[in-house]
Symmetry: C2
Subunit: 186 residues, 2 copies
DNA sequence: CCCTAATTTGAGTGATAACTCTAATTTATA
DNA sequence: TATAAATTAGAGTTATCACTCAAATTAGGG
């Protein structure tokens, strides 16, 4: 994969894999389907990827990374920033959002490494949300802030889950409702 | 299926299907796997079920029904009752809970009838939660109660989703945190 | 206890899954 | 432009998928 053609083909294969997982789930994501959608033959696929699993894992990594823009940032995000960033992720990268949810409930079942990765990612998100809460209201105890952060992150995941089921679901309205409630609880 | 033996075999097949979907997801739920776990041969399976899909749909219906005990009830549940009933469902019927979530994100992708059924079920739940909110606080407008109900149901689904990823997750604590927050928001 | 129908057996079908291999082609560079 | 390596083509392999079927067994009403 040193030539330009190889890199482009790799991109097309990853794009096809992404949209297949998002659209038809892991069951519908076969080598043949990927190759058809990417306009490639199996030989080319296996020249660039050692296995189907590797292509899927690459897309999953992409999805996990896309959930948190600037994950190692300066730590100055407000709770609003974090919630709105997730809302934007769901709206602007619906395919990756669906990949994230689908893999969490299906792919992680038979792949402990993957479920561990997703759990660590979740914990990182909770810490980030908790830090934002404490920054905003320093009087709140860390334990309490963490509990509140976890509740909020889980609720956001509930929204993402529902979006998979109902593409017309109004993510923005519900994300903002969560923020209002969070403010009301204080 | 008029003899006792047939009914028992059917039960074993459904039990195997349930635990396979819960444990390994739809991908791992093959006829061979179902038959092995049920102690049955393919011929017996197809004597009792017209297709693999029918067996799965039966389990899915079972799961949907189990989410809402007494779905056509007298309409006297409090919000606490409803939340605690869902908590109990997640704790006491973890396999069915996983089936529900797995089918929502995977099975519904290629089966519009199924996704329609899940969406209607969701709407019914929201109405029930909204009614409980209004019963408890009649001054709240119906629209507002519905919005609050939806937020709560989605948050509960987020908890169920996370439970699929982390079997050690403390469902009860988080369900109660949701209730406290709901009370605080008023 | 007999007879019919329900049930179980278990080998077998065609389709399709993931993946391999060799030959042909294209690409970048010396 | 010659060459070595990267890429693509596409038929082929092996395994497993959902599903079928005819024969053997078992269950239960009369």
């Amino acid at each position: 994969m040193r030539y330009k053609a190889g890199l482009e083909t790799k991109d097309r294969i990853l794009g096809a894999t992404r949209s297949l997982i998002a659209g038809k789930g892991l069951e519908g994501t076969t080598i043949k389907a990927i190759c058809d959608e990417a306009g490639v033959l199996p030989g080319s696929f296996y020249n660039l990827f050692p296995s189907k699993e590797q292509a899927i894992l690459t897309v999953v990594r992409e999805a996990i990374d896309a959930v948190d823009p600037d994950p190692g940032g300066k730590g100055t995000d407000t709770l609003d920033d974090l919630v709105l960033a997730y809302e934007r992720f769901l709206e602007e990268q619906p395919a990756l959002a669906r990949v994230y949810i689908r893999i969490a409930v299906s792919g992680a079942a038979t792949n402990p490494e993957l479920s561990g990765r997703l759990l660590r990612h979740h914990e990182g998100r909770v810490r980030r949300f908790a830090a934002a809460i404490q920054r905003q209201a320093p009087e709140i105890a860390e334990e309490h802030a963490t509990r509140r952060a976890e509740t909020l992150v889980l609720a956001l995941n509930g929204i993402a889950l529902h979006r998979v089921l109902d593409p017309h679901f109004d993510v923005a309205a519900h994300a903002r409702a969560l923020l209002e409630d969070a403010a009301a609880v204080g």
